[in-house]
């Protein structure tokens, strides 16, 4: 199981797109990524190519590709078939100007109101410094009726959190509807990748979302390896899996404290903070960086020292104890139970990922669905069915335990490989093959399934990198979960989702 089979590619016309999409969805595959590309002359392309990537739960990968002429840039909308498709279409319209015809929500998504009309930042001939106008506001469904009022929150918040605007329509204290406006942290990351040699993409990928450095750099590296046909030795794949689990561990421990902190029992957060710091220092010993940067490279991964298994085990045990103290506390349990329920059916339709999906009973986990290494028998996918804050909390708690076991198993296997001497440093800094090529990297980062799709030219220079952070697919779940929730419980619900703004906004 070194590499999954190359994706099956289906070329379709605009008219056949909906049928091709329906076929894949009926096979049980999910739409994981839609990327637009500009083809033709380097200065101004003559046509667009839109690639739809579908992933299955048994390693299936399918790409449905459709060509769109630039002077007639539209596609039939697929929003009726798949909710994520509708979101991808809005993103592509904002960045490339390809119009989804018949879209039920024909509003801007990425570009806020002050972006000039007709300016599409991902186009090759886009003005690098457009003139921004005044903010035109944004459309949202205004709830009217007796006693309904609006609460605007953010994008600047009282705490140290990323920018996002939430518009609540409220009756009394009960949320009727919530509209979230993201993309305040849009930095043009995908455009920044273009024109870089593949090796220079790693530092950028590590900085897409600070707490997912391994997830993003690994997905990127795997996409490049897929495109260029680079084999990664088993030792390095094990190291990568280990790093991914280390990232999951420190983030989940942090979330356990943060969720409980929002109920007011701050002592749990203090101790979770202490555990997180222990793990960050351990990370620094592992890779030289507290957030695990610098360990993943194209074709391999390196550890500066072997993991301290006693430390990881004790941290996991303490985290479990903290969680049991919290959930055993009547007042805390009352705040977590039945709060902000995301029903399984809604979770499936919206296409949410990661612990949010697993807490709503969907066993979506790329470690099982799209594995790059065999994690052994002690790996299991944790699920809950209630879909409330408690379920999302419990999934994290159980995943900490699974992760601690995986770290131990992976470390033992790495040590065995190093001991037998079967692994030489042959993989280190060999000259990279050049393209052209296209590749896909799929990783179960701590927030959920993370997908990168890259294209590289004959000189080994990136021509397109499309990043789909799990946050992009999971954010729409939050307003749905908030139905019937009261306003003071929103921070708790939001923290239990803990989606990335930077990873979503790109």
């Amino acid at each position: 199981m070194t590499r999954l089979a190359p994706p099956e590619t289906v070329l379709v016309t605009r008219d056949q797109l909906a049928a091709a999409m329906a076929t894949q969805l009926q096979r049980g595959l999910r739409l994981a990524l839609v990327a637009a590309h500009e083809d033709g002359p380097l200065v101004r392309g003559t046509s667009f190519r839109v690639v739809h990537v579908f992933l299955g739960s048994a390693g299936e990968r399918v790409e449905v590709v459709v060509e769109v002429p630039r002077d007639d840039a539209w596609l039939p909308t697929l929003a009726g078939l798949s909710y994520p498709a509708g979101r991808f279409e809005r993103e592509i319209r904002d960045l490339y100007g390809i119009v989804p015809r018949g879209h039920p929500q024909p509003y801007r998504l990425v570009r806020h109101g002050h972006w000039p009309t007709g300016f599409y930042p991902m186009l090759r001939d886009a003005d690098p410094a457009p003139t921004f106008g005044a903010d035109q506001g944004f459309p949202f469904v205004e709830v009217s009726g007796k006693g309904v009022y609006e609460i605007p929150v953010g994008p600047v918040h009282a705490g140290m959190i990323e920018p996002g605007h939430f518009r609540f329509s409220v009756v009394g204290e009960t949320i009727v509807r919530m509209y979230q406006r993201l993309y305040f942290a849009h930095r043009g990351v995908e455009k920044l990748f273009e024109g870089r040699p593949v090796a220079d993409g790693i530092p950028l990928a590590e900085r897409i979302s600070g707490d997912t450095a391994v997830g993003h750099s690994l997905a990127y590296a795997m996409a490049v390896e897929d495109a260029l046909g680079i084999e990664v030795p088993e030792h390095d794949r094990l190291v990568r899996a280990l790093l991914l689990e280390c990232e999951r561990l420190y983030n989940h421990v942090n979330d356990i404290g943060a969720i409980i902190n929002d109920t007011g029992l701050s002592i749990v957060n203090q101790h979770a903070g202490r555990l997180r710091e222990t793990l960050l220092r351990h990370n620094a010993r592992l890779t030289g960086h507290r957030l695990l940067r610098g360990a993943i490279r194209i074709g391999g991964a390196d550890l500066a020292s072997a993991p301290d298994l006693a430390l990881v085990t004790s941290v996991a045990a303490e985290a479990a104890e903290l969680a049991s103290i919290a959930t055993g506390h009547g007042m805390v349990a009352n705040r977590l139970d039945t709060t902000a329920v995301l029903p399984p059916e809604q979770a499936r339709r919206l296409g949410v990922l990661g612990y949010v999906a697993r807490a709503s009973g969907l066993a979506v986990d790329a470690r099982a669905d799209q594995p790059f290494v065999d994690l052994g028998e002690r790996f299991e996918v944790i699920t809950r069915t209630t879909g409330d804050v408690r379920a999302r909390f419990d999934v994290r708690v159980d995943e900490v335990a699974v992760t601690a076991r995986l770290v131990a198993d992976l470390a033992a296997r790495i040590a065995a490989l190093e001991g037998s001497g079967s692994d030489s440093n042959a993989s280190a800094s060999a000259d990279l093959p050049t393209g052209p090529g296209a590749g896909l990297g799929v990783v179960e980062a701590w927030r959920g399934t993370l997908v990168h799709r890259i294209e590289v030219d004959a000189h080994g220079v990136l021509t397109r990198v499309k990043v789909v952070d799990p946050s992009f697919c999971t954010w729409p779940g939050l307003p749905v979960a908030l139905a019937e929730t009261i306003v003071p419980d929103f921070p708790l619900a939001n923290k239990s989702f803990n989606m990335s703004y930077a990873g979503n906004d790109l």
Binding site: Y149, E150, I151, P152, V153, H157, A158, G159, E173, I260, D262, T263, G264, L265, S266, I267, Q270, H271, R274, H329, M331, V332, N334, R335, I486, V487, P488, D489, F490, P491
Partner: protein, 324 residues
């Protein structure tokens, strides 16, 4: 219902007691908050800002120019002053250091509760004044809680006033001091428990409100003062802390009336000053220690807690007629 006991003991004595209580309140309040925060920090394994930090915070805020939104009305300026004034008045009226009945100012239960409500309303108006969703939300929650708290305060102290036959707080404390057996009967215990709950709610502490939260949507007290800054914020903070001192002081003197002076003699006042300071700091530390083990209630369960305390107060009143 004001009793005429001691009205003739002189205006000078009354002034002396009031000045002593005000000096105590102003000096001890930041210390009390500092002790509470430090206790909580140490129990949670943090170092904390130190006992003097609230002093430094208020001093810093008071020296800063307030920024006021264009279009704001005088409410923004007067509400903080009104809050501090009402809280200081509360500290003067509540028998903290001495139970000397004050000349020409009634330390009556109903007067005290009205003064308390004055500060509550000033804060609520300030929240509405800012015109933001948070301020209005905070005010709405604040008034909901106040509406449930004030009757309980009245009722529980009223239960204690039944055996004494007067609603003057000073006389109640004095009577309880002279008759220690009255401290440990069901009437007294029920009403003290009810009072503790409402004091926690009124001063915005866990499990009703979380004074250390940064989450705008969960705030009650903090939401109302979000738009205030500089000097205004300094007065608001200090005024709210003074309310804690006055209410906590009242409860500890009702529960443990020892050491409270009966007149305005210097030695008695000194003893009263030292004992109330010690009682306040110890109770504050205990309250903070209890908070470490508490989470914030879901907002809709707060009325249940306050209704519970009202029931205790009501039982206490019923019992007081049975016992006495």
């Amino acid at each position: 219902m004001i009793e005429a006991v001691g009205l003739d003991s002189g205006v000078i004595d009354s002034v002396l007691v009031i000045v002593t209580q005000l000096v105590l309140a102003i000096a001890v309040t930041p210390l009390l908050i500092g002790v509470m925060r430090t206790t909580r920090a140490r129990l949670e394994g943090r170092v904390g800002g130190g006992i003097g930090q609230p002093w430094r915070d208020v001093a810093k805020l008071l020296s800063k120019e307030p920024l006021r939104a264009p279009g704001s009305t005088p409410v923004l300026t007067t509400a903080p002053i009104l809050l501090v004034a009402s809280s200081l008045l509360l500290c003067a009226l509540v028998p903290l250091v001495s139970t000397l009945a004050l000349a020409s100012v009634p330390g009556d239960l109903f007067v005290v509760v009205s003064v308390l409500l004055l500060g509550t309303v000033a804060l609520a108006l300030l929240g509405l004044e800012s015109g933001t969703a948070f301020g209005g939300m905070g005010s709405s929650r604040h008034m909901t809680i106040a509406a449930l708290v004030e009757p309980t305060v009245l009722l529980s102290i009223y239960a204690l006033s039944v055996p004494t036959g007067t609603s003057a707080l000073a006389s109640i404390v004095q009577a309880r001091k002279l008759d220690p057996t009255s401290l440990l009967n069901p009437v007294s215990l029920l009403s003290i428990v009810a009072l503790v709950v409402v004091v926690i709610a009124e001063t915005g502490r866990l499990p009703v409100d979380n004074p250390s939260t940064h989450l705008e949507l969960t705030m009650v007290h903090e939401a109302m003062i979000l738009e205030s800054g500089g000097r205004d914020l300094g007065w608001l903070e200090f005024g709210s802390w003074l309310r804690l001192t006055a209410l906590l002081g009242l409860v500890v003197n009702l529960a443990m009336p020892w050491g409270v002076a009966a007149d305005a003699a210097p030695l008695g006042l000194l003893v009263g000053l030292v004992t109330i300071t010690a009682k306040l700091l110890v109770t504050g530390a205990l309250l903070a220690a209890a908070e470490v083990f508490m989470a914030k209630l879901r907002l809709f369960r707060v009325p249940e807690l306050l209704a519970g305390s009202f029931v205790l107060a009501f039982l206490s009143v019923s019992a007081s007629y049975l016992v006495f």
